[in-house]
């Protein structure tokens, strides 16, 4: 497999992260100034799941760099519908593109495709597995708002299936960050992520109540509790209420708490929070473009 595939945040060292974030800051300062940076570069978008932010931010990023994107369209309109394997689809599209972006519902899909293609591959989400480019924009947002060292962060919601959570937790082990995970028992971190965090010596605590830890947090990263995971709607309603935040919830928070969410949200964060200084989730979504510009710039620099 190529060294420059980005499959999991576990691949990223502190130096890797800082290099991308520093470059992203340059693009963020004047995104329109780099339109001749990678003229003629083509990015292949393989999205096997619906996506708005991730897909559009990659398209925007490559266009800001002077390149363009080709898109396989929906699964229904592609050869996948005829029974073509993912491995074959990727091998065909790599012939059209200088780099590939893959979003797929199966865990391990990006690792497998990485074994078949010769152009750089970015994992844009593989089932409940990893989402490393989201993590880089999350880290960019955290660095801008709270700094990445001496950080106390709470990560709340569906920790079992939340790929953004898994990737963020891995990446934070590079920094001096105390990680607190808040979830219902049934949606705790999966065994594999806890294993890695333990192996890395990370400072990790698990909670079922946000109140226990909220006053000490610098960052609260909220994710959607996924209704479809619950066999019983009443059980979901009980839990969802407990893991939502509003102005009342935030009364015990630090004044400079940063509240993040990978979006889309449903009812985890009340709209009344949007107008406060806590709310950073729209800024976080905006940061997807400069961070993905930085990643693509790094990958395409090695293009022959």
């Amino acid at each position: 497999m190529r060294d420059d595939h980005l499959i999991t945040a576990k691949q990223l060292s502190r130096e890797d992260v800082e290099s991308v974030l520093d470059r992203a800051a340059e693009f963020d300062a004047d995104p329109a100034a780099f339109g001749d940076r990678h003229e003629d570069a083509i990015l292949g978008l393989l999205f096997f799941e619906p996506s708005t932010r991730t897909k559009m931010s990659f398209e925007t990023a490559i266009k800001r760099l002077g390149g363009d994107a080709v898109d396989m369209g929906t699964v229904e309109s592609s050869s996948v519908k005829k029974g073509e394997s993912l491995a074959d689809t990727a091998r065909v599209i790599e012939g059209y593109a200088d780099a590939l972006v893959l979003r797929h519902p199966s865990q391990g899909a990006a690792k497998m495709v990485g074994e078949f293609v010769d152009v750089p591959l970015l994992n844009a989400g593989d089932g409940a597995g990893h989402h490393p480019t989201q993590t880089l924009l999350d880290l960019y947002t955290i660095r801008e708002n709270a700094g990445l060292d001496d950080l106390t962060i709470g990560i709340m919601g569906d920790l079992k299936y939340g790929r953004t959570v898994h990737s963020l937790a891995h990446a934070l082990t590079n920094f001096d960050a105390d990680q607190h995970f808040i979830s219902p028992e049934s949606l705790k971190l999966p065994r594999s992520v806890r294993y890695d965090l333990h192996e890395s010596g990370a400072m990790v605590r698990e909670h079922t109540e946000l109140d226990d830890i909220l006053p000490s947090l610098d960052v609260l990263y909220v994710t959607r509790i996924q209704r479809e995971r619950f066999p019983d709607e009443n059980e979901y309603q009980e839990i969802a209420g407990e893991y939502g935040i509003d102005l009342e919830t935030l009364e015990s928070a630090k004044d400079d708490l940063t509240v993040m969410h990978p979006l889309p949200r449903v009812d985890e964060i009340a709209p009344e929070v949007d107008d406060t200084d806590y709310a950073t989730y729209f800024e976080q979504a905006h940061n997807g473009v400069p961070v993905r510009m930085a990643l693509l710039d790094q990958l395409l620099e090695g293009r022959q």
Binding site: S85, L86, A87, H104, P105, S106, Q107, G108, A109, K111, M112, E115, D126, G127, A128, G129, P190, R191, S192, Y195
Partner: protein, 153 residues
């Protein structure tokens, strides 16, 4: 001839897998793909008294030596087992199992959402941990009931 002699009677050539954890003999047969239809002569002892283990299982397969893949999987479910290669009624080689660093193509992943369970040209691959195995693709850790995931033909 005593019962004891019957249990340990020598075979002319083949493999004796001894010191299998009691109750695992049928899983060992599954790993070796032995279902009685291939014509091999197989002897199985279950819950046989053992000085070292209290009770153990033992499997003797005539006219067959094991592949490295088979030995690797055996090491996961029967780590204390010894493998004796028999030639001319004598133990020609004695092998103690060592846990491999990884096993390829011999276990299926229990995560239904793992890419290895789809119709893709990819073999399963598991890292062997101190107390289980971990899928190289979806990273699922399996610690219990490994034998349930054996995919050896």
């Amino acid at each position: 001839m005593s019962d004891h002699q019957l249990r340990v009677s020598k075979i002319p050539r083949g493999t004796v897998i001894d010191h299998i954890r009691a109750g695992q003999a049928l899983n060992v047969l599954a790993i070796l793909g032995i279902d009685g239809e291939s014509g091999e002569t197989v002897s199985v002892g279950m819950n046989v008294p053992s000085d070292r283990m209290g009770h153990k299982d033992i499997v003797k397969v005539e006219d067959r030596e094991l592949s490295q893949d088979e030995v690797d999987v055996l090491s996961l479910i029967a780590p204390e087992a010894t493998i004796n290669i028999i030639r001319e009624y004598e133990v020609a080689e004695k092998q103690y199992l060592e846990r491999p660093e990884r096993v390829v193509g011999v276990l299926s992943c229990p995560n239904h959402n793992c890419i290895t369970n789809e119709n893709e040209p990819v073999e399963t691959e598991f890292d062997v941990l101190d107390d289980g195995v971990r899928c190289e693709y979806c990273e699922t850790i399996v610690r219990e009931d490994l034998a349930d995931h054996i995919a050896v033909e």
